[in-house]
């Protein structure tokens, strides 16, 4: 049970990293991280981005479920 969940978790984790990297990065660099320059990214999200969001959310749910599942099965 734990092994199966772990395998699923590894696959979903890798998928998750890839999906997040596919997103267009928002907000740039350190300078506006700690109250530096003023930057406004006024770009609407495209259809691609929307679908990507949906897939990432689904992936995130499976990921969280796996983590919690392993946590319980190991106890």
């Amino acid at each position: 049970m734990t092994t199966a969940l772990s395998i699923v978790l590894i696959i979903v984790s890798v998928l998750m990293v890839l999906l997040v990297l596919l997103h267009r990065g928002k907000g740039g660099g350190l300078s506006d991280m700690f109250g530096g320059g003023v930057s406004s990214s006024l770009s609407g999200s495209s259809v691609v981005e929307k679908n990507l969001d949906r897939m990432t959310i689904v992936c995130g749910f499976i990921w969280a479920a796996c983590v919690i599942g392993i946590g319980f099965s190991l106890k």
């Binding site: 590894i10 997040v20 740039g28 660099g29 350190l30 991280m33 700690f34 109250g35 983590v67």
Partner: protein, 440 residues
């Protein structure tokens, strides 16, 4: 002030954004408490109590809100992203190709952000492996049970389990990055800095109760008052700026009139923000890390333990102060380029009254900037070093580590910086609809 908050919540658009941000932050905090798969939570809890005062990994633990030492899913926190931003920022100065990208404006910046993201994942893999290896060998939280045997933090140390752990932590970092970007995109404020903000703020209650329990009510109240004074001082210094007037010439393009306005260039006293402190404390943390990994070499380990791990040693305080000073000037030089600013001003017909456009303007800006950065650098150094000194010299105060001191320099600096920035953003959103904001 409070009515402004009420108005902010009555504006549906703004309310949604604020609730979205709060929701994401709650999700982030939740993930910071879920133990990673294969970690024995009970043992970790016991070991944490044994290792309460260890200063090793304190800074990283600070940025992850205590999640690191608990080995949770989000153990690495935002640290890989910060490190990779720092690296990319430094590389922009060194590598011409990246510099050209930066000059391209929006599209180049997007590409740089993308590089930062890739580097974040790479660093996350590295750090996750390092931390899991430390946890496996029992060096992350060295602790023993009543019989003197080593307590294992992990259920099993098989290769498969270790890989699962590393991959999960890496994915956790990717998720954090995404959460931050979601806040930047759809919520209020800059996501990454808000995540750091919550991590640091989340440790305040437990640290507060620690002080209350171990030192008594009087010390607790004294610390609270001192913290309040420090916050007031930091807000004062952060808001300080010199406004250099700029006049724009009137221009006719076709039948329309452009320019003719007068604005100013704000030169902040602390142009660099918190970054110099983060840079220098990250750098000083490197020898500690090396000494930890390289335990077999005793001369090196002892040297590091004597001069760099003990935060009350003069070498540590001295090098911390010097590095902070250096990085303040360095970072201001990176972020504000007088030649570029003066060129841009000239392009749009702007000038500083009394000074010719072009090179004299650049020289003037450079002069003012280097003068105004000196108090900024001194202030940052004081903020960074004073808490250590205070802890060292105050009677009855144990020489603990500065990062776990609740109102210690770095954390308050970050809290105030992010707080100011976020409230300014909410205010500007509010200004779209009403004319009265928080700050009068």
């Amino acid at each position: 002030m409070l009515t402004a908050f009420g108005r902010a919540f009555r504006t549906p658009d703004l309310r949604n954004k604020m609730l979205f941000t709060l929701g994401i932050l709650a999700l982030f905090r939740f993930g910071s408490t879920v133990p990673a798969p294969g970690v024995n939570y009970q043992h970790v809890h016991d070991c944490l109590i044994q290792n309460k005062d260890s200063s090793v990994l304190a800074l990283v633990n600070l940025f992850s809100g205590g999640a690191l030492l608990q080995l949770t899913v989000f153990a690495l926190g935002i640290m890989p992203y910060i490190t990779s931003s720092i690296i990319i920022q430094l590389l922009v100065v060194v590598i011409p190709r990246l510099e050209r990208l930066k000059e391209q404006g929006q599209s180049g910046q997007a590409k740089l952000t993308q590089y930062t993201r890739y580097l974040t994942v790479a660093l996350a893999i590295l750090q996750a492996t390092g931390i899991v290896a430390l946890a496996r060998s029992g060096r992350l939280l060295p602790c023993t049970d009543s019989t003197g045997a080593q307590i294992d933090l992990l259920y099993s140390t098989s290769v498969f389990r270790i890989i699962t752990l590393v991959v999960t932590m890496t994915a956790g970092t990717a998720v954090i990055m995404w959460l931050g970007e979601l806040i930047t995109d759809r919520g209020i404020g800059n996501g990454m800095s808000l995540l750091i903000f919550t991590s640091i703020a989340a440790r305040f209650p437990s640290q507060g109760t620690d002080i209350l329990r171990s030192r008594g009510t009087a010390t607790f109240i004294a610390v609270l008052i001192a913290g309040l004074l420090i916050i007031v001082g930091i807000v004062f210094m952060e808001q300080g700026q010199r406004r250099i007037p700029v006049q724009y010439a009137k221009r006719m393009i076709g039948r329309r009139m452009y320019g003719g306005t007068s604005t100013y260039i704000p030169l902040k006293v602390n142009q660099a923000g918190v970054i110099p402190v983060i840079f220098s404390s990250s750098l000083l943390y490197l020898p500690q890390l090396l000494g930890q990994v390289w335990t077999s070499n005793h001369t090196f380990t002892n040297f590091v333990a004597k001069y760099f791990t003990a935060t009350d040693s003069w070498t540590y305080i001295g090098s911390y102060a010097l590095l902070t000073m250096f990085f303040t000037y360095f970072y201001v030089a990176i972020t504000f380029n007088p030649v570029e600013v003066s060129d841009n001003m000239r392009k749009y017909g702007g000038f500083i009254p009394g000074i010719r456009p072009g090179r004299p303007t650049a020289e003037y800006l450079e002069y003012v900037l280097s003068r105004i950065t000196l108090p900024g650098a001194l202030y940052l150094t004081a903020i960074a070093v004073l808490p250590i000194l205070a802890l060292h010299f105050l009677p009855g105060a144990a020489a603990g580590n500065n990062q776990s001191f609740p109102f210690g320099g770095t954390s308050v600096l970050i809290l105030v910086g992010v707080g100011l920035d976020t409230s300014k953003q909410i205010e500007s959103q509010l200004m779209l609809r009403n004319y009265e904001g928080f700050l009068r």
